[in-house]
Amino acid sequence: MATISCPECAATIEVAEDVMIGEIVDCIDCGQELEIISVDGANIQARIAESEGEDFGE
């Protein structure tokens, strides 16, 4: 398993070895949706996925 650091809460998140750019993963600690933006061997970067802000279903 490879790992990434969540840009929102700095949690260490396990991702599949063959994760691809553009893939969406959820942070296990803070629930933020993350988009993989670069894969360079073990060094995998993610950013917070575009979403129209937290919808509380109000």
Partner: protein, 353 residues
Amino acid sequence: MVDVGIIGAAGYTGSELLRLLLFHPEAEVKVITSRRYQGEYVQRVHPNLRGISRLKFSGVNLSKIGDECDFVFTAVPHGISKDITPELLDMGVKILDMSADFRLKNPELYPVYYDYEHPRIDLLEKSAYGIPEINREEIKNADLVACPGCLATSGIFGLAPIVKYEAFNLENIIVDTKIGSSAAGDSPSSSSHHPERSGVVRAYKPTNHRHTVEIEQELSKIAKKPVKIALSNHAVDIVRGILATIHVWLSDDQPIAEKDIWQMFREFYQNEYFVRLVRDRKGIYRFPDPKVIVGTNFCDLGFELDVHLPRLVILSAIDNLMKGASGSAVQSFNVMLGIDEKTGLDFPGFHPI
């Protein structure tokens, strides 16, 4: 195995202690006392324990209790415990006291908040404040553990990770709690009468609640400087549970990021099984909610940084009878025995409930 006794086993705290200890692999419940139900079987008072124990409530015979028990949980009102605990200690019994009688280090606070002059100031020094996550070593070596108040517990857990840091103003912290009816105990009153109690959002002690000084005592110890708390409480229509909503102002000069705060919480509670950090961006469980942890020894913590004003909102959820009282006491009991702290306490809660 150790022999344990519960003084005041008929109340709600006593009931939970009895339930937990009857199923605890290292504990043998020898004595359970109750003035009101002396001579009665357990099940008449605690229906969930029918068929599980043949124990009867007895009167309080301190020398008999001293002989039969290695550990005694004193689940008696404030002001009563201070008159029986010293005698038991002298007989070599280890005490986990559920009352407030040995929680406060500063004896001058007892006349103010509990209306009595404390008779054994020496024991105030010796007692360990019963939150393992912040006082584990003291509890391990203590003969007397003062188990904390439920409201105090919810406030302390929420604030402990951040009071060491300059980024926060520690002089005007608001703790706004919502709490269930079981916290008021088992004696009926006009305010607990169902038609009057159901569906309330009833402010009680919006200022000057005596748990304030407990929270300040333990947090100042961690912060190594004064921490000031403004506590306000509301009874809501649940039986068990506290949600403390804690409003902390950021000190002006120190901008702080969400992930710095995550780091503070993770570091402080890193291997603590009973403390969980709760945050989600989807679904309906986005922040801590006492409904989720009823019956468990968990403290669920969450927070959100305000972008409109320099404020951090921390949310702390516990079951007032478990992590707020009896569960915490059994956890301290496990610490004193040197065994796995989860022993007898690893129930995950129900869903749905």
